[in-house]
Symmetry: C2
Subunit: 179 residues, 2 copies
């Protein structure tokens, strides 16, 4: 997902800085930080980089599935990975995005006959709008899906799509959005 | 939704019997009962018809939203309308279906450029398969989305789609599924 998102945003003219997931000493210079890591890695990043992330837009893309059973999420039913991140980073602007689009559909910019659409949830309207513009500039649609509490539904969509994706739906397909 | 679903299934050759939501004395003769009512009406139907519904396939199509706020579901976060129905009707085969497709897309059989797809969740494989065949016969795709616990994610998809539908997405659009 990291390279698919970087490709999309740099096609739109964004300057991309890549920080490896094992790097613990980097200086985070960007205004928008895409956490292109699996859910279990979020806590370590918060621990290592927390103080540097104040004021920044933090984009959580994770689908916190139990990948052994493919039958549940590992976050509480009334919460979400994004809500947990917002609690851990109270001075950052946390957004949920990219978790409902497979990497292949970000690269192709289409989901079958539909233009790929990234759904964004978050409480900071300016941060959502800035991310949406960067995504649109790269050639993919973006929709503001509501406040950060909607991350719970976005994670449910991501979960459902991954369970279908294991058998019923190709990784180049999934949910397309028709406006 | 009732007439859209009846139209679809009768196009596929099913015999349809319609019981009005205020009728309290009907005999339920069908094997598959589609509860094409809003969520708050389910409890009354269970109270009135419960004993007649044993052994039947009961299809819950509801999206249990708080329609005043459009900001939450009215079922507990770790449950679903379908799970509640299954608890109230332990001798019936409860399925969740049709809650992720707008009525217009069942009628048109398309969501934009995509064939309309009904997602079905439930614990009884034969009941799911029978409903899927009736839907396919009517000209719309059906996908087995897993066991009844997946109704929670289907209700999250329906909820999200309704919140987008109020502003961002037309009622003739929504989530299309690309396989």
């Amino acid at each position: 997902m990291g390279s698919a998102i970087a490709g999309l945003l740099s096609a739109g003219g964004a300057d991309i800085e890549h920080i490896g997931s094992t790097d613990t000493t980097a200086t985070v210079t960007g205004d928008i930080v895409i956490l292109a890591v699996p859910y279990p890695a979020l806590a370590g990043i918060v621990g290592t980089y927390g103080p540097q992330l104040a004021g920044k837009t933090m984009v959580d893309i994770t689908n916190p599935l139990d990948f052994e059973t493919f039958d549940s999420l590992t976050v509480p039913a009334d919460s979400s990975a994004a809500a947990e991140l917002a609690e851990a980073l109270p001075s950052s602007k946390v957004l949920k995005a990219f978790n409902t689009t497979f990497a292949a559909t970000l690269g192709a910019k289409t989901v079958g006959p539909n233009k790929t659409t990234v759904l964004i949830a978050g409480d900071d309207a300016d941060a959502k709008s800035e991310l949406a513009m960067a995504i649109s500039a790269g050639g993919v649609d973006a929709i503001d899906a509501g406040n950060l509490s909607r991350a719970r539904e976005l994670e449910a969509v991501g979960f459902l799509q991954l369970t279908l994706g294991s058998e019923k739906v190709r990784w180049t397909g999934g949910f397309g959005i028709v406006r």
